[in-house]
């Protein structure tokens, strides 16, 4: 009859088999899944073979080990231990007797392996976005001339949030900031960032700032998430990132219209853009007022010239008045002179007529006596003795002296 083993005996055999096969710790790689942390600080997750997906092994780690692992990962810039990352770890292989499950006891992880896998993932995502023409989509949007309505995605209460707002508030422009909060790292942060961006896409904002506080080595995985990259590419307004890292550029940086180092730099960029526009307005305002002033003074000069010319027209009038006065005098003089000429003419005719009338009388023996002043003597009584008179006869005149009254 075959030997019958008790459960305990079986497990002892299994335990021995495992131990004999894995006398020393081994290096093993896989993708983390079902990450959970107990109240006492211990961590459990499953390591899945990415090729087959249906084969996995359980990993556990005590609090002290986890603290070291977390520190190593953070220094490599890959963030904390979590589900969904490829890791290479060193562990002892053992059997948990209570459930006869093989269990790995975590000793350390290889942070460069995870960093490399993440970088590969990132490159892969970038290539995908590029192939779909999403890489430049946000950059192609026109940057707002006067970005005063700012959509802000960050974690409220963070230093980034405070820095951003204080630099924006400083110069006294009237910014309105719509903040939609999102966790900036850790499990589920990429989904939160994605949803926050989506919300701001429906808000009337000029641009969206995606900012996170600084630090030496920070988890970029949130900003390397494909969903975040796709969301930024689909945003109707430019996205400006300031996610506080010095070395690597995340997917979010690659896809956004402008990527800067820090939240402060983003705020300063926005302020500078508004200030530049304000400066251009001021230059335009001066140019307009200068041109207007020039136009007015040119017009004034023209008017002055016109006024001078008009004033000269006064002298024209005066010349006309002189002309009229001359004509008036001329007409009056001409008329008088013409009349006088006629009077003289008539007078001479009268004398002629008078002279012609006396001739026959004289020939009949009469004489015409006249005084020396030429007046005709018509009565003897008017003459005095001794007065000289002229006596005109038919053939000539003689001078006579009055002897006495007859």
């Amino acid at each position: 009859m075959a030997t019958t083993l008790s459960v305990a005996e079986l497990i002892t055999w299994l335990d021995r088999a495992v131990l004999s096969n894995f006398p020393a710790p081994v290096w093993i790689k896989g993708e983390s899944s079902g990450y959970r942390r107990t109240n006492r600080g211990a961590v459990f997750f499953r390591l899945v073979d990415p090729e087959t997906a249906d084969q996995s092994v359980e990993v556990s780690a005590r609090g002290r080990v986890i603290a070291e692992v977390e520190r190593d990962l953070a220094e490599a810039g890959v963030g904390s231990l979590r589900s969904g990352i490829e890791i290479r770890l060193r562990a002892t292989v053992g059997l948990r007797r209570a459930t006869s499950v093989v269990q790995l006891s975590l000793l350390e992880v290889d942070p460069t392996f995870t960093a490399g896998r993440l970088a590969l993932d990132r490159d892969h995502t970038l290539q995908k976005l590029k192939a779909e023409g999403l890489l430049d989509r946000n950059r192609m949007l026109d940057l707002p001339l006067v970005p005063l309505r700012i959509g802000l995605v960050t974690s409220r209460g963070s230093a980034a949030y405070a820095d951003f707002l204080s630099h924006l508030a400083r110069p006294g422009y009237r910014f309105s900031v719509s903040t939609v909060e999102a966790m900036m790292q850790g499990e589920g942060s990429a989904q939160q960032v994605d949803r926050s961006l989506e919300r701001l896409a429906r808000e009337p904002v000029d641009l969206v700032a995606l900012v996170r506080g600084g630090g030496s080595k920070l988890d970029l995985s949130t900003f390397d998430a494909e969903a975040v990259g796709r969301r930024i590419a689909a945003m109707p307004v430019p996205v400006i990132t300031g996610i506080g890292h010095e070395t690597d550029r995340s997917i979010a940086d690659e896809v956004s219209a402008v990527s800067l180092k820090t939240p402060t730099a983003v705020a300063e960029w926005i302020v500078a853009r508004v200030a530049e526009y304000a400066g251009r307005i001021e230059i335009a305002r001066r140019a307009i007022s200068d041109q207007a002033r020039d136009a007015v003074s040119a017009m004034e000069r023209r008017l002055d010239r016109s006024a001078t010319q008009l004033a000269e027209s006064k002298s024209l009038l005066i010349r006309q008045e002189d002309l009229l006065a001359g004509l008036a005098t001329g007409v009056a003089e001409g008329a008088r002179r013409a009349l006088e000429q006629q009077v003289t003419l008539v007078e001479s005719y009268k004398q002629l007529v008078a002279t012609v009338g006396i001739e026959p009388t004289l020939r009949r023996g009469f004489a015409l006596v006249s005084r020396l002043d030429g007046s005709t003597v018509r009565a003897a009584a008017v003459l005095s003795p001794g007065e000289q008179v002229r006596v005109r006869l038919a053939d000539g005149s003689v001078s006579m002296t009055v002897d006495q009254n007859a």
């Binding site: 006309q320 001329g330 007409v331 013409a338």
Partner: protein, 65 residues
């Protein structure tokens, strides 16, 4: 005067015509009174025109300065 329906220039030309006629040697006495009367009318017309133009000009120039 109101029966004069001439421009200033026409009135002035007529005035000059009368003036020339009166300065000539062969003045028509029958027309003399008529000429002088017409000259008087034309003169008054021209002077009135000058006066009103002068007044208007003064107004316009005042607005200018």
């Amino acid at each position: 005067m109101s029966d004069i329906d001439l421009s200033y220039k026409e009135a002035l030309d007529e005035l000059r015509e009368i003036h020339a006629r009166l300065r000539g040697d062969d003045v028509d006495i029958d027309r003399l009174l008529e000429d002088v009367g017409r000259a008087s009318e034309l003169l008054a017309f021209c002077r009135e025109r000058l006066t009103s133009v002068g007044e208007r000009l003064e107004e316009v120039l005042t607005d200018f300065e």
